[in-house]
């Protein structure tokens, strides 16, 4: 099977829509989470979120984020994406604003069906002139990893040369309500992954896409691969609708699944880009998982959600882009908001230069979904 490489990145986040700016701001430990007056006016209990500064229209917010990120990825690759580019998109809530409108005014059900996550794939296809096969992963907060891993597997099997894969999540008032009422949100509106004082997540929004190519295709056109896409490990807790398995055993199995498929051992992982939502339960379960996989010898671990908020279905795609940039620049972005580490892990508290060969992008989700996507330095 031929290697699959990353040749383009595009992302739109609360920290910006330029990949280099986003990475620099992550290294600077900037936090994009702010008060949102519209949420306060609407009566929400929690009013802080990480929303994109260049506010797209509310009605087509997700589609606009998707197209902007996809265009940026294509431009970054220097490749006019061929019509048969394989497209994989992940999302949690879809175009949430349509469902929010429908709660107040009747809308034809066909309009709502068109607002599912599939709408993002359709928008990208239309705007970028793609006519190839496409898939939409509704796998909640792990959807980005599913999309990228599946696209890479597709290419590695020789079924195509180029893929565009990522995740999209417009800000969702439904998610804000749901997480808030589930007591998953930070009461202070500050996300502190893996910190003793962590008290919940903060919602974000964004989109990210990666252009993937089989290595021979990238090299033949003179492109510079940024990274290698490795195996995607998957498992399911099969335990609880929303809470993670506390001992991290099934998430650990997903990690081992990825390592085994890639032919690696745990000591070859140089950084874990953690799921790290900042909730008491989820961070504890993830820490248990990391102890299971790595024993007492923790690799550097950091979560980006203290800076960006939790962007749900876009999160692991954004984090995959950051993994690629970390591999490229050989520096690990730190946890933002970490003051008192709650776990015996090597939690990164400032930018750390490092020799990064393989990194692991962890994403966990409602429904007990566990995913670990491996990404490697291109050499």
């Amino acid at each position: 099977m031929e290697r699959v490489v990353v040749t383009g990145l595009g992302l739109v986040t609360a920290l910006g829509a330029d990949k280099d700016v986003v990475f620099r701001r992550l290294l600077d430990q900037d936090c994009a989470i702010t008060d949102c007056e519209d949420l306060r006016a609407a009566g929400f209990r929690h009013v802080r979120a990480g929303r994109c500064p260049e506010s797209p229209s509310q009605a087509a917010r997700g589609r606009q984020l998707a197209v902007a990120a996809a265009r940026a990825a294509a431009a970054d690759s220097g490749l006019k994406l061929p019509e048969d580019t394989f497209l994989c998109v992940g999302s949690t809530m879809g175009e949430s604003s349509a469902f929010e409108v429908a709660a107040q005014d009747d809308l034809p059900r066909s309009v709502l069906i068109d607002a599912t996550s599939v709408s993002f794939a359709r928008a990208v296809r239309a705007e970028l002139g793609l006519r190839g096969d496409f898939r939409t992963y509704g796998t909640a907060c792990a959807a980005g990893n599913y999309a990228i891993g599946s696209a890479a597997a597709h290419l590695s099997l020789g079924r195509g040369k180029v893929a565009l894969a990522g995740g999209v999540e417009p800000f969702s008032r439904i998610a804000m309500l749901g997480f808030s009422r589930s007591r998953a949100m930070s009461s202070h509106g500050v996300c502190r992954p893996f910190d003793l004082a962590r008290d919940g997540m903060v919602l974000g929004e964004g989109a990210a896409f990666l252009v993937l190519e089989v290595e021979s295709h990238a090299r033949a056109r003179g492109a510079t691969p940024w990274a290698v896409v490795g195996a995607l490990g998957l498992s399911c807790d099969a335990e609880h609708p929303v809470a993670p398995l506390p001992d991290g055993s099934m998430a650990g199995l997903a990690f081992q699944d990825a390592l085994s498929a890639q032919g690696l051992t745990a000591d070859q992982i140089d950084w874990v880009c953690a799921h790290g939502t900042g909730t008491v339960l989820s961070d504890a379960a993830e820490a248990q998982m990391l102890h299971r996989v790595f024993g007492a010898k923790s690799p550097p671990v950091s979560s980006l959600k203290g800076a960006l908020g939790h962007t749900l279905g876009a999160a692991s795609a954004i984090e995959a882009c950051v993994c690629v940039m970390a591999l490229q620049h050989q520096v690990i972005p730190p946890n933002v908001g970490l003051q008192q580490p709650a776990f015996d892990l090597d939690l990164v508290d400032r930018p750390r230069p490092a020799s990064l060969g393989w990194v692991a992008n962890v994403a966990l989700a409602f429904g007990g979904l566990n995913t670990v996507l491996l990404m490697g330095r291109y050499a």
């Binding site: 009566g43 709502l112 992963y137 599913y146 589930s182 429904g367």
Partner: protein
């Protein structure tokens, strides 16, 4: 149309998921380890009506006091979550959103995982609620056979019980 029927629709996804489990619980009997079981689900609309109903209730009861109990049903992977719990499926668990593309994709993912030995048994589910709850249906495919003969092994299309 949405609105007054949304509350009724919200009961459909759990019922549909239970129907799948009832029809397939024997498929995973025996010595198949739970992590070698895979679930591959395609849906055009799981979560759609629930998202509307959940937010509608939130607005009606004020946003600060809405019940969180139904929130996870607003996500398209909620049916797969329930099925995985009922049938102890701890291997790969996919939910693909859409119609034809999604169905083809779940077959593709299942075949890939079976071929590489990642799973020993795969449960493929396609569910669509449509506009009327009683018209919801689920198609089941038993993945424990020769993967070259899918159509011959498509078990059945089950109509939803009329009281759902």
């Amino acid at each position: 149309m949405t609105g007054s029927t949304a509350g009724t629709v919200c009961a459909t996804l759990p019922a549909l998921s239970q129907l799948v489990c009832a029809q397939t619980c024997d498929w995973f009997d025996g010595d198949i380890a739970t992590h070698e079981r895979g679930l591959y689900l395609a849906t055009a609309d799981a979560g759609v009506d629930d998202a509307v109903a959940f937010y509608e209730r939130g607005l009606r009861e004020t946003l600060r006091f809405a019940s969180p109990a139904d929130f996870h049903w607003t996500l398209s992977n909620a049916p797969a979550g329930q099925i995985s719990r009922e049938l102890h499926i701890q291997g790969p668990c996919y939910t693909l959103v859409g119609r034809g593309q999604a169905v083809r994709a779940v077959v593709d993912h299942a075949l890939f995982d079976l071929a590489r030995g990642r799973v020993k048994r795969a449960l493929l589910v396609a569910c669509e609620l449509q506009a009327q709850p009683q018209a919801a249906f689920v198609a089941l495919y038993d993945g424990r056979i020769d993967v070259s003969a899918i159509e011959a092994h498509l078990r059945q299309v089950f109509p939803m019980p009329s009281d759902c």
